[in-house]
Amino acid sequence: MLYRENGQFKTSYAADQQIFPIAQDRWAIIGILVFAFVAVPLLVDEYLFRAILIPFLILSLAALGVNILVGYCGQITLGAGAFMAIGAYAAYNFHIRIEGMPLLVSLLLGGFTTAVVGIFFGIPSLRVRGLYLAVATLAAQFFTDWVFLRIPWFTDNSSSGSVSVSNLHVMGWQINNPVSKYLFCLGFLTIFALLAKNMTRSAIGRQWMAIRDMDVAAEVIGIRPLFAKLSAFAVSSFFIGTAGALWGFVHLASWEPAAFSVDRSFQLLFMVIIGGLGSIMGSFFGAAFIVILPIALNQILPVVGDLTGIEISTAGISHAELIIFGGLIVFFLIKEPHGIARLWSTGKEKLRLWPFPH
């Protein structure tokens, strides 16, 4: 309905293969970016930054990583939380143990360390598939949980087991208030999303998808499963690790291993499945859904309780949240197993073909 594509013909492959080949989409994305970078910092209050926007940005980044592995390369992982933890603790150790380490470098080194560990934990994927692999990745989860809980070196021998960072700044820019934290994370996410998109539309992305869709055929045309799978593990872990570092440094500031438990792994997997496997856009949708849903329920349930005259205790609300959350997930999987991204793309297709139905 909003699309006017006549006259948008492509005279070069470069134009045809750009990320947003349709002009209207390009304008929309520019609009969204301007809104996110300029309007949001002016309009939004601190609570929203802290409770929704910053978690959303960081978890989107992590979900991007999970989506690269699960959605694009077809390797199920239940250890994403562990990789976030590795990223966070690695960045922490680089940050405190090396004098004058710049924040950006610490965060990225956190990501790199995670990528290396990710390759290691990806090795089983060369032998095992599907759900077997899922369980194998749980091994990573439980192992790292234990490592950061029990080996004091990683937590700088902190007596409480919790670590903290403070006084964050990048080239003189203090990252100490919600707006600066938000902008910092948004910058990360924008760049990483662009990198992810580029990879998925290049040779490496096609290798991942080929392995996902039909591994035997992929081998026959000369794709090495070893490289394709391990590179997916590496890139995915890099993203997740960086997200973990941001989560620890920027969002939490002080944290303990429980922040990256198996529940976090499940949560990330939820995001990509509900958002849409194999879709960059889906990672954002999924993250938004999972971040906002509990908060929305938390706000709505007491209101519903008041309206119906049923007294709901705080515990009651948290139980109801669990039920509704679980129920919605099941409902979603039944109604749209390909995720919100699929809804989005069919919607877009409909808009392009409007008023025709197909």
Partner: protein, 260 residues
């Protein structure tokens, strides 16, 4: 015909393959000459697909060796085979369902990609140049196979006949010197078969590609192939030019026995 059938380019020597005691191929030898169209025929379960799988290393034979352009391989693997210029299509279409036609064909260019992951992530320099250059190559294949109207359609949405064509396209995108076709015309209607025949002949003719082909339709096989090898229960029962094979009593009895 101007194409010259050349020397032996692929030679299989006494290949035997079994799965947990079940013999799929027994002591099979045959050769393929450069630029020829070589057909493998035989009743269902004769081991034809296994033969192709041995040639490009999906299956590892227990005995025997493969000589490819004078190089001896006791064990082939798919990557080595692809590197050596062998590509193939699949009996039950093994396209990448989550991608569109262009991307499926682009995967065929994989071995020719030189840029690294970092360059690709930034869509920069060599990565971008390569991507565009390979797209141009892929478009040539699209043009060749006359599938322009579906180039951006996800392959899962295509009808069967077109999927088969895209499968061939992916193999062609590799610019192979040897092309293995596993029942390229199975399940097609007459018109689609004619098209596919034309494409196979054109590939052989224009690019000089050596073709090893499994096909059920005897009329097609006799029509387009230079030499035919006949398998039955994993054993070779005939080998030669189409007319000779047609006259071979073993072949006749195997075929009559199988189809009547």
């Amino acid at each position: 015909m101007s194409r010259q059938i050349g020397e032996v380019i692929l030679d299989l020597k006494q290949v035997s393959l079994s799965f947990g005691g079940v013999k799929a191929l027994t002591d099979i030898s045959f050769d393929v000459r450069e630029h020829e169209i070589r057909a493998i025929i035989g009743p269902n379960g004769a081991g034809k697909s296994s033969m192709l799988n041995v040639i490009n290393g999906v299956y590892r034979p227990q005995l025997g060796e493969i000589i490819l352009r004078g190089q001896h391989f006791s064990k082939m693997n798919p990557y080595k085979a692809a590197k050596a210029g062998i590509s193939r299509t699949f009996q039950n279409i093994a396209l990448f369902k989550g991608m569109n036609v262009i991307d499926n064909l682009m995967t065929g260019r994989n071995l020719k990609i030189r840029s690294n992951l970092i360059q690709q992530a930034f869509w920069w320099g060599a990565a971008r140049r390569e991507e565009l250059a390979h797209r141009a190559k892929v478009e040539e294949v699209i043009d060749f196979l006359e599938i322009q109207h579906i180039r951006k359609t996800p392959v899962g949405r295509l009808p069967y006949g077109l999927q088969k064509r895209v499968d061939l396209g992916r193999a062609l995108a590799m610019e192979p010197s040897i092309l293995l076709l596993d029942e390229p015309m199975a399940g097609m209607n007459v018109e689609e078969k004619q098209d596919m025949c034309r494409f196979i002949l054109d590939v052989n003719d224009q690019f000089g590609t050596t073709i090893v082909l499994i096909e059920h339709d005897m009329a097609v096989v006799m029509d387009i192939s230079d030499r035919v090898v006949v398998l039955d229960y994993g054993k070779k029962i005939g080998d030669g030019e189409p007319d000779a094979v047609r006259a071979n009593p073993d072949v006749i009895s195997a075929y009559l026995g199988a189809s009547h």
